[in-house]
Amino acid sequence: MALILAVDTTAGTSVALLRDDRVLAEFGHDSGVKHAELIGSAIHEVFERTGVRPQALDAVVVGRGPALFTGLRVGIAAGLMFAEAVGAKLIGAVSHDAIALELYSSDGSLPGLPLLITTDARRGEVYWALYGGLEDAGIPVVLAGPGVGKHAQVVVALEAEFGSFTERTGGASAQWVARLAARQMIAGVASEDTTALYLRAPDAVMPKPNQQFGKRVSG
């Protein structure tokens, strides 16, 4: 029996409270820009609706991405601090793993097949990860990734190495992040690493040596 709060802000703002596999309450909003506004009420609401005391939590799970940075950070920051406030164990989960678990669990046509999960990474690129079904503990088997790249190039490279696969695009939901973590906890493979999976270096321009300002008007 484990009471788990999951927070995932890789797509919209998704928060869920589960006892083992059962969803007690869930909050979902698909806005990709309102994470900071929504996160407080989202967490508040799942406890308010169920009457569960936050201090009763066994674990707080955060979706680590990969995802667009700004929203991703809001969820991880909130998860970190919520665990700190209520004294719960903190767990990090790869959001694409949760998407894979959801699809394998709910789409009967998929089991066993290699599955490519892609999400929008902007700039003409996708965040991706390739899975090879569920292992005995019910946890997705990662064949490759997560990574970021141009869609066509990613597909060509993966086909060359792994042969054919099915591709699905999607967004992580907190209830599947929680289910993934619950299985990982049972299997003893849950990770305390909650660092964000950015997969890209920060946008920053290195100044040229002795860089001056604007164009020269003299000399």
Binding site: V74, G75, F82, A85, D203, M206, P207, F213, G219
Partner: protein, 508 residues
Amino acid sequence: MMRYTIRPAQIADLAAIMELEHDAFASDYWSEASMRDELTASHTSYFVVARTTSAEPGYRVVGYAGLAKLPGSTQSDVQTIAVESRERDKGLGRRLMEQLIAEARRLGATEIFLDVRADNPVAQHLYESLGFETIDRRKTYYQPDGVDAIVMRLVIPAATEVQPVVLGIESSCDETGVGIVRGTTLLANVISSSMEAHARFGGVVPEVAARAHLEALQPTIRKALAEAQISLEEVDAIAVANGPGLAGALMVGVGAAKALAVGLGKPIYAVNHLVGHVGADVLERGEVEVPTIALLVSGGHTSLLLVRDLIDDVQLLGETIDDAAGEAFDKVARLLGLRYPGGPEIDRVAAEGDPKAIRFPRGLTLPKDMEKHRYDFSFSGLKTAVARWVEVAQDSGQEFSVPDVAASFREAVVDVLVSKAVNACLDHKVPRLLLGGGVVANRRLREVAAERCQANGIELRIPAFDLCTDNGAMIAALGAQLVMAGRQASDLGFGADSTLPVTTIQTA
């Protein structure tokens, strides 16, 4: 410039008090003998307001008030209170009353009673605003005028109720700050800076700063709690800076603060980062003396504020129209081959230079600019002027003194900053200037501000450097002021606002 101090009354004040007594209570003043008894009795506490001015030596008593409390009793009485007629409307009556309430609490009283003339609505209003309630009316009590007395009572709030423990989070730029205060007492102020990570870029990179905040959150909070020697459960409220600043950076703090508040079941206060800089002063002085002009100078801001009330009335007089002063220091430092951050480097090199060697332009100080931008700043033109000057010198093959360039540049920045701040004080007849922001570390800025404030009779306040640079304690301090004033907590739905105006002291 005038300054008012409240201190315990001495017998030497008797003559001055009697003069005020006659002035204030024309028809029913106490005799000098009665007043002497009051001042010397063991069960009374008397205070006076002493006015000092820079123009004349010594002080003048312009108000007084007394409290009586018998040993063993939990009740106390306001004996009298008066302020010289010319000195009214300056909040001195309120300050005296607050002093009496604090004294009553200190002596163990739980209630204060007072009588007030029914024909004095101004005084009644003051007492009501302090929490006094009318409990009785005595007919024709004041003689010979035959005026009724209204009896009022205040149940003194326990000291613990007005000293909330507030944890503040600051993440508007490159410093992750967590501060903890109890009322106006600083318990912890931990700052984790990502400055080193920005050094190779020559300036703050927003994404680098935001990533660093996320990594620093947990260790910084834990360190602050350890420093304050409290646990999270002892925190009464959370405060967070929700702007202005870098949006992505602010959002890390906002998300973290909301989760803490919900997890602890405590209220959250979303406060203005810039007003937080002003609020830092309560941690050193117990209050921010108002009105005051505040000059806030950092790598992200250069703002001049008029603060009439820390939590109710802050106005933006002016700000930079291009680069922040700190940014100008960074850019000129790079041009001169100095390291990042530029402020301390230029300060160091300039110590050997002549500030008068080169006359660099003072941005927005020409008469035509002063009409439209009296309190605004511009450092972009100055930075370009330095670049052009260096180019010309290099192209002509002349050796030039880097210390002279650094000193002259620094002088131009400091001159404009201080001139405009002092102008703001004089224009608005505000005898106080408060400095805040990381650039306050600049030695020359402190020197020039001190010189010119003294010359103009302006009191200069510079909080300790850890309270000047971006920090969580100032956010906690401002949050605590809101809690103590009984303000409603912010709604959980607030966002980060990179351009939050200073007039929004708290986001509802």
